[in-house]
């Protein structure tokens, strides 16, 4: 298969300077994202998974150019967008949209739902008013809210309904790729299911690609075609969902999967409980970043960062060991 991916990220890095003191001198840098590469096909869902501070949200923001990368390239739809000037980037964003985690903070409380969803159309599509209103209605209907929702304000909606509004807004300009940054983390489980189903349906109908950022492995296992596991700014394992979940090769991926509480009291399994905390990204450990918590670490892990290497079938991992 040689289909051109819709998104290709190579060696992407984002370092945030740490400033201290009166003169705000740079005293160090946080390597939030440190050499991340992956690609995403049209109509595919890639899940970025990892714990807080691993850089998954930063990757999402970099791809939308909400922040600028320190180095590396982002190729979207055949075009290198990593250094596009603001004006052209604005144009590209039509096909590149985002859904945020917090449906309370990401909707302007003083605008009606209709205005919120119509705003991207107003900014980009230059449709006559009647057509715009028709499109807003169609979008509201599409996300299961009904046309009468257009005249309500965000506070009149529940959390799940607000997230539907966020999705409708992202869909307004018929994007090719949606970056969804923890879209269901703030929602109750029964409502999570509603929103996840909606996203699944939209993907099938519209051929959307998702970069789905989440810390919840259950949600990831349900949504992903492919999974990338991040730890301290780097991808430690990437591959097909089935491979990652049935034969995880990286000790961190194994620990993550085993740490997930299962809603089944009869389930028997060995839990790998990792010792210690995630180290600071300001001073990541030498060698493999994971060696301080890894139950299998040996001398080489402390000095040499393992390169990503192939496992069986569309699956790569970064570990010196063959587990």
């Amino acid at each position: 298969m040689s289909i051109e991916p819709i998104l290709r990220v190579s060696d992407l890095a984002k370092h945030f300077p740490v400033r201290r003191g009166l003169l705000q001198r740079t005293v160090g840098k946080i390597k939030a994202v440190d050499g991340v590469s992956f690609s995403l096909l049209a109509g595919e869902t890639l899940c970025l998974v990892g714990e807080s501070g691993c850089g998954k949200s930063t990757v999402g923001r970099l791809i939308l150019r909400l922040i600028d990368p320190t180095s590396g390239t982002i190729t979207f739809n055949g075009e290198n967008i990593s250094a596009l000037p603001r004006k052209q980037m604005r144009c590209t964003r039509k096909s590149l949209q985002i859904v945020f985690q917090d449906p309370y903070a990401s909707l302007n409380p003083r605008l009606t739902a209709g205005t919120i969803i119509g705003e991207p159309l107003e900014n980009f599509a230059r449709l006559p008013r009647s057509q715009r209103e028709a499109r807003v209605k169609e979008l509201l209907f599409r996300v299961g809210l009904g046309a009468e929702a257009a005249h309500k304000y965000p506070f009149e909606f529940s959390g799940g309904q607000r997230q539907r509004l966020g999705i409708a807004r992202a869909l307004a300009l018929s994007p090719l790729l949606i970056v969804a940054d923890e879209p269901v983390s703030a929602l109750d489980v029964s409502v999570q299911a509603q929103v996840l189903n909606l996203m699944t349906d939209l993907k099938a109908e519209l051929g959307l690609a998702y970069l789905f950022i989440s810390h919840d492995l259950g949600v990831v296992e349900h949504m992903a075609d492919r999974v990338a596991v991040m730890y301290l700014g780097r991808i430690v394992e990437i591959g097909n969902r089935q491979h990652i979940f049935s034969h995880p090769r990286h000790p961190y991926t194994r620990a993550l999967i085993s740490a997930q509480p299962l809603p089944d009291p009869q389930a028997k399994r060995e839990r790998i409980v990792l010792e210690g905390d995630v180290p600071s990204a300001l001073t990541p450990p030498s060698g493999c970043h994971f060696h301080t918590r890894c139950p299998f670490a040996f001398a080489r892990c402390r000095s040499e960062y393992p390169a990503l290497r192939e496992a069986d079938g569309a699956h790569q991992f970064a570990c010196h060991l063959d587990l």
Binding site: A193, Q260, L274
Partner: protein, 331 residues
């Protein structure tokens, strides 16, 4: 059966605001036996936290009021105690840990001071003895280098470590009951696994009963012995943990279990099971069963008649509040 340690009888807690009365907890009964781990599960706004705050009488003053029921702790009704007597219960015989450890620790006092404080107040221990106890507790929750870390302030600890400090503080006076309100929700999964493991270990050591409040059925399955499911301020189902997951009886519990992405029913499915609609507003009086509007089994009767908890046949300790119980169980 041993006598229950804590018995909540027909508790109703309402909030009185400008917009009206919110029936946060509406006629809830539950009991906790010594050394037991009981889970209270439900979605946001179902009244699980308000139940805990009612037990400890920590409701926001003026707004939240317990309007009915009794809370018997070792035979004494906590609702009849004076504030002074209540202070002797709180943090001493019933302790609580909260979701967000940073907001429940005092940022300007060392953690050693904060752990020692409750020992000095409740046990009348000397400064030195309280300090010894604080150190012992930090060691017990496995904070490395405990003696030195006593001098540290909360911001010098990571989230997982802060929650350990909270646990150390809560257990310092050997409480009979530890109420843990979403103790791991703010933590990453690998850290959550550490904290849950620690809580169970400590339970074994101290013999405290645990009331674990959570929205995560996975955590319930792995840590609790008995589960209470709440919906819209009411208890809709109660069962031993294995029973609840193997044979859930209430349509709400069934809906919850099948809507989890990582549940047995969810994996490999294209679409997840949804519970349609949203939780009813607790401001308006609820006619009949609170779940009726979202329930696939609802009949006319469910909309007018409030269901009582009734035993599920052949399953001791299993009760559910559903008028169509036999139909649901047969399906």
């Amino acid at each position: 059966m041993t006598a229950p340690l804590l018995e909540v009888q027909n508790l109703s807690t309402h909030f009185f605001t400008e917009d009206g009365v919110t029936r946060a907890v509406d006629g809830l009964s539950l009991s906790i036996s010594p050394h037991e781990t009981v889970g209270i599960v439900g979605e946001s706004g179902c009244g699980k936290t308000v139940t805990a705050l009612s037990i400890l009488r920590l409701l926001p003053p003026r707004m939240g009021r317990i309007i009915g029921g009794r809370i018997l702790f070792e035979g004494t009704d906590l609702l009849t105690l004076s504030e002074r007597q209540m202070r002797d219960v709180r943090g001493n015989r019933i302790a609580m840990i909260f979701q967000e450890p940073m907001t429940s620790l005092n940022p300007v006092l060392t953690v050693g001071h904060q752990i020692a404080e409750s020992v000095r107040i409740h046990r009348g221990a000397s400064r030195a003895a309280a300090r010894m106890r604080a150190r012992e507790m930090l060691e017990m929750v496995k904070i490395p280098d405990a003696a030195r870390r006593l001098e540290d302030y909360p911001h010098q600890f990571s989230g997982g470590m802060r929650q350990r400090v909270m646990i150390a503080m809560a257990l310092a006076c050997d409480p009979k009951i530890l109420i843990a309100d979403e103790p791991t929700t703010a933590l990453d999964v690998t850290i959550q696994a550490q904290v849950l493991k620690l809580m169970l270990e400590l339970k074994g050591k101290t013999g405290a009963a645990i009331v674990l409040i959570t929205h995560d059925l996975g955590i319930v399955a792995e840590t609790c012995q008995r589960v209470v499911v709440m919906y819209a301020g009411r208890k809709v189902e109660e069962a031993p943990v294995a029973e609840l997951f193997a044979r859930p009886a209430h349509p709400y519990t069934r809906g919850l279990l099948t809507s989890i992405a990582r549940g047995k029913a969810g994996v490999g499915r294209k679409r997840l099971h949804e519970i349609p609609g949203i939780v009813p507003s607790l401001r308006d009086p609820i006619q009949g069963c609170a779940f009726a509007a979202r329930c696939p089994f609802a009949a006319m009767r469910c909309r007018s008649e409030a269901p009582e908890l009734s035993p599920v046949a052949g399953q001791p300790g299993h009760t559910a509040a559903c008028l169509r119980l036999s139909t649901v169980l047969a399906s």
